[in-house]
Symmetry: C2
Subunit: 219 residues, 2 copies
């Protein structure tokens, strides 16, 4: 394994991330994620995920030379622990039904060694959903998006088009009125099946190839 999650506790919140990234930069590793938490007692916790690490022991020793650093721990990466994510957005009624299908199917794959999580957010209104869809590309580990509503189009459709152009995220929508069904990869009428298919499409343990559906992507 060359990917690691590193948790660093430090004495002071500002500038420390700068010191640490400089150190990592010298090791020629990629930083794929950082998350800085400022604690109530004026210490800070820096969570990093790094790729392409040649010598983790040397890297940790070097981080410990930063004067503000109190402790350094390593963990499995968040990909190892939490795996791939599916996100379901839309109205509460539909989101919960798609989630039911997706969680039950994810369970079946995770039992066989996959790690697939199902994330949801019930949202109201074209602008809020469009903003949330647009932000998907900036979140880590997301492999599929299911749009679960009763009417979607306009700004949401434009954002989906942009997302499709710039990213590899699979996009499924329920069958509904609105232009959204014209721009997604797959349209599914039954919410349980939409959730199940989203998981099957991204699971390594499933035999379901989206490319074989070309020309027939409405169910």
């Amino acid at each position: 394994m060359t990917d690691y999650a590193i948790t660093i506790k430090t004495d002071e919140e500002k500038h420390v991330l700068n010191e640490i990234t400089k150190m990592l930069s010298n090791h020629d590793v990629n930083i794929t994620y950082t998350h800085l938490l400022v604690n109530s007692n004026d210490t800070a916790t820096v969570n990093l995920e790094v790729e392409d690490v040649e010598d983790i022991d040397k890297l940790i020793d070097d981080i410990k030379t930063v004067p503000e650093v109190i402790s350094v721990e390593t963990h499995g990466s968040s990909y190892d622990i939490y795996g791939k994510r599916i996100v379901i957005m839309g109205g509460g009624a539909q989101v919960s039904q798609v989630a039911l299908g997706a969680i039950t199917e994810a369970d079946r794959h995770n039992i066989r060694g996959e790690r697939i999580g199902v994330d949801t957010i019930p949202l109201v209104g074209e602008a809020a959903i469009a903003e949330a869809v647009d932000g998907i590309a900036r979140l880590p580990r997301i492999h599929a998006l299911v749009l679960a509503g009763s009417l979607m189009g306009g700004e949401i459709t434009e954002v989906v088009k942009k997302l499709k152009k710039e990213n590899d995220i699979l996009i499924i929508s329920l069958n509904m009125p609105g232009s959204i069904t014209e721009v997604v990869d797959l349209v599914v009428t039954d919410p349980t099946q939409a959730g199940v298919m989203a998981v099957m499409a991204i699971a390594d343990t499933a035999i379901f190839d989206m490319d074989r559906l070309k020309g027939n992507n409405k169910f």
Copy 2:
């Protein structure tokens, strides 16, 4: 608003985060999140979230002076777009039922202006669940954890104790055999109610004060 999400496209993936954090460090802002994506055409996308920004226009102008930077965009922070997160972990059967309650209740609060998302991961085995619970503190925006299984204890109980000591995350479990029910904040028998209560406890729009349950936390 002094919190921003900034998306920076750059020419080259390594060392750029170092250059950018140095720049931010000079502006005396807190970096709360970064996510680095390496694109197929040898460009990279750096997503940052920053706090305590005094002059965002000056900050963006300064980032643009880094030679590798191609473009800089600002967005609402992920807290503004996706809000608070509840995580549900455990067996698929229970996780999906807790999710049903939580998503439906989150919908009711989000309609009134909250942003609450419900994230789930069905997992098998004491070690996998313990590792996932332990990692919660390293993920952003998590306010509550629901443990939804039929038997939990041992290593999971130890990790929950540690999490409680070091963090403010609310922890709810279903009523089940195992020592887990002795260390969580709240034990709920009905999975739908467990999901609903998790949302109510973290929602600003709900009148539900966990502190008023002291001495009677099993339902």
